[in-house]
Point group: none
Chain length 225, copies 2
DNA sequence: GCCGCCCTGTAAGCCTCTTGTAAGCCAGGC
DNA sequence: GCCTGGCTTACAAGAGGCTTACAGGGCGGC
């Protein structure tokens, strides 16, 4: 679950993104509108949190620029200005929610989850593959109805594979989905992570497995089908 | 048990919320309609107490706005106006109870409990897990039929775990359920609280235990099952 | 009203689990 | 058979959680 967080106040950015990360999100943090548009176009985010008081580009123009390319990305706008007209403009421009500063981390989290839970959003679906099911809202995994214990990275990976069941994922794609660009891993971190997930899948007798395509990537294979 | 209390009179708000807290509720106190709608959408409250004489938005519109998103939240409306038509309008709009100012804290408490006891409400159920039972109305806990002695926080936590037996609760979820946003604890307050509850559970030989999922949260495990 | 107890949050130190890194091994392809 | 890419294992750092001690506050008893 990857977020773009656009906030020019360095300190606030640090704190907030830390608490978002603590809650299991991969967070890319940028400090100006230009970087924001650039990042939003380059990567697939599950949601974008946008501060309106940016130094370079007017925040709503950032929103419009991104929406023009990726119409479906949910936006949450933060601003110190609580004037009604701003709110209307924001919602008109396609923002999905609105947060008035100062806000606390719990509230932002709640809003992000709410936005992700909307139809078409990333949360609230239960993914199925073979005998395993993945509740994306609570992040609970069951194999043949029995709860399975997975660590956070394992959950992240499994979720990604299940969302793209059967489709091929390059290491690059995986890296982009699981790691923000502030925290780039070495190439084989992903190999190790898939190794660990594979082991767990075997341990819990899942009927799916992760197959390797040498030089290309991985895909989730439903062994029964 | 978390409440949202919407009241623009600062002083009254202070007093009343203090006495609600003294009775074991986590209370979020806001002073205008906008904040009220905002908070109600962001968090899950067990009940909302709404004053009608708000400075910005007409109280009944607050009620409607919230009900549109969270239809099941019980409302208790407070107002100085005791006119019949207001009462009818309030109940029509989906208010569950009605309180005419001035009221005293005991009466409000009684009404809250009454509303929570209704079918689908938070009180009046006896929760069961393993050999322990939790009477949500009287807040009494029994292990193998023998009464157990738990402090308020321990009761709060246990209730939360028993309501979501087997499901994973993040620290965040727990924090939101047990603490109002005026009283944010340090991160490890919850760790300490669960530690204490765990100890009691062992002492009283409960057949359930609280399991940790590192980096994710906790869940109540029925050891027998 | 004062004293003492209990409850609860804070803080600090320790311990455990997770996760990335690195190094060596294995397998497939040419 | 060699080379490349992936797998596996061991290791170390760090995060996260546990435990314990402590202090402030509230409540009841005297």
């Amino acid at each position: 679950m990857r977020l773009l967080y656009v906030e020019d106040n360095e300190r606030l950015a640090q704190n907030t993104s830390a608490s978002l990360r603590a809650n299991g999100f991969a967070v890319d943090c940028v400090h100006c509108g230009e970087d924001a548009v650039h990042s939003a176009k380059s990567f697939d985010y599950d949601a974008i949190i946008l501060d309106l008081g940016l130094p370079d580009i007017e925040g709503l123009n950032v929103l419009k620029a991104v929406k023009a390319v990726k119409a479906e990305v949910p936006f949450i706008i933060c601003t110190a200005r609580d004037a009604l007209e701003d709110r209307i403009k924001g919602l008109d421009a396609g923002s999905d929610d609105y947060l008035v500063k100062p806000f606390d981390a719990a509230e932002l989290l709640a809003r992000i989850r709410a936005v992700l839970r909307r139809p078409g959003g990333a949360l609230g679906v239960t993914l199925e593959a073979g005998n395993i099911s993945f509740d994306t809202a609570s992040r609970e995994v069951e194999v043949d109805g029995a709860p399975a214990r997975l660590s956070r990275r394992e959950l992240d990976l499994l979720e990604l594979f299940m969302r793209r069941k059967g489709r091929i994922l390059s290491k690059d794609t995986i890296e982009n989905a699981l790691y923000g660009f502030d925290e780039p891993p070495t190439p084989n971190a992903i190999e190790v992570a898939t190794h660990r997930l594979r082991k767990k899948l075997i341990d819990m007798q899942a009927s799916v497995s992760i197959q390797t395509l040498r030089g290309i990537g991985y895909f989730l294979d439903d062994d029964g089908a």
